[in-house]
């Protein structure tokens, strides 16, 4: 963890909301993107990531100094997103396994698309099941280690390994299917 973040966290734990503003601004992009990949809706992603920051602030004293903030926050964000998906599935009386609908276009406010290839990759990611989309997001776009992913998902490291392997394989298959 870099010293700036450690200092900000220390001030947050002392009740300094301005310091928390620094943390929020640092991770707002990653948080919104991660929520977007799970929820598939920009407005809901912004709202969920903000709600997760509010929850993080309320429990900031429980955060263990010396560790990275983002993996801790990622777990809170995941819980917020899963709760929203479950309420959504209850409302629509469809199973959570059905996942948000695959999007035809990625939101340019949240995801960077530098080429046609990148657009296709984002589309293929959105077409993956939730569990795969989630682990690809944690590993590649949020930069968590296997240990951090295991903590965020509440699963053993061995399961992280096999799930990530399956997710990458599924993504490769989707991309290959599109090209052929």
């Amino acid at each position: 963890m870099d010293e700036t973040e450690a200092a900000l966290i220390e001030r947050c734990q002392g009740g300094d909301q301005d310091a928390f503003g620094g943390i929020v601004r640092k991770y707002a992009g990653a948080a919104s993107g991660a929520a977007y990949l799970m929820l598939g809706c920009r407005e809901e992603a912004l709202d969920a990531s903000q709600e997760a920051f509010v929850r993080a602030w309320r429990h900031i004293r429980r955060f263990q100094p010396g560790t990275r903030f983002y993996p801790w926050y990622a777990r809170i964000l995941r819980n917020v997103c899963i709760s929203r998906l479950r309420s959504r599935s209850r409302r629509r009386t469809v199973a959570l396994a059905a996942d948000p609908p695959a999007r035809s276009d990625a939101d340019p406010e949240i995801l960077v698309e530098r080429s046609e290839r990148e657009r296709r990759v984002w589309q293929a990611i959105f077409a993956l099941p939730l569990a795969h989309r989630e682990i690809i997001s944690l590993a590649h776009f949020q930069g968590l280690s296997y240990k951090e992913m295991a903590e965020a998902l509440g699963i053993p490291i061995g399961t992280v390994m096999s799930r990530l392997h399956a997710a990458r394989r599924a993504l490769r298959t989707k991309l290959a299917g599109e090209e052929s």
């Binding site: 929020v24 992009g29 777990r75 819980n79 949240i110 995801l111 960077v112 296997y146 096999s162």
Partner: protein
């Protein structure tokens, strides 16, 4: 060593997450296995491609709006708690006084008194039942909990 024994280790190898001993065993296996070499190359290529992709960094104006929205929620959180506590106390006190007034008033019929008392008890039972259900669900619902370290 067969390919089946490595399987998802290919992913861990690409991510640099394999233990040194396992890494050596896997590299030895790679020397003789075309299938794993191909799988490794494809996994590596995908990882490189995904690592180049990013979420968009919000503009300064978007960040300001974002933080303002979080800040407003933080500020309002305490307000909502105080408002809720106050409203519950006032409702309970007002309700109690109203029921007391009705029960003690000799001009009001017994049927109406019984109706008001039944209504109050019904509301209390429903409230307690809902509260208990919410608390029970919260106990077993892992997604409603925050992270503790």
């Amino acid at each position: 060593m067969t390919c089946d024994q490595f399987g998802d280790r290919i992913t861990a190898y690409v991510d640099g997450e394999l233990e040194p001993l396992e890494r050596t065993r896997f590299e030895k296996h790679l020397e003789t296995c075309d299938v794993c070499r191909r799988e490794l190359a494809e996994t590596k290529a995908l990882k490189e491609e995904l690592d180049m992709m990013t979420f968009k960094e919000p503009s300064d104006a978007a960040l300001r709006r974002y933080w303002q929205s979080v800040y407003n929620r933080l500020e309002r959180g305490l307000g909502w708690i105080l408002f809720s506590v106050g409203a519950i106390l006032l409702l309970c006190y007002g309700g109690f006084k109203l029921v007391e007034e009705i029960v003690r008033d000799p001009t009001i019929s017994v049927v109406l008194k019984a109706g008001v008392v039944a209504l109050v008890f019904g509301v209390v039972i429903l409230f307690v039942s809902l509260l208990r259900e919410r608390l029970t669900v919260r106990k077993v619902d892992r997604y409603s909990k925050e992270v503790e370290r």
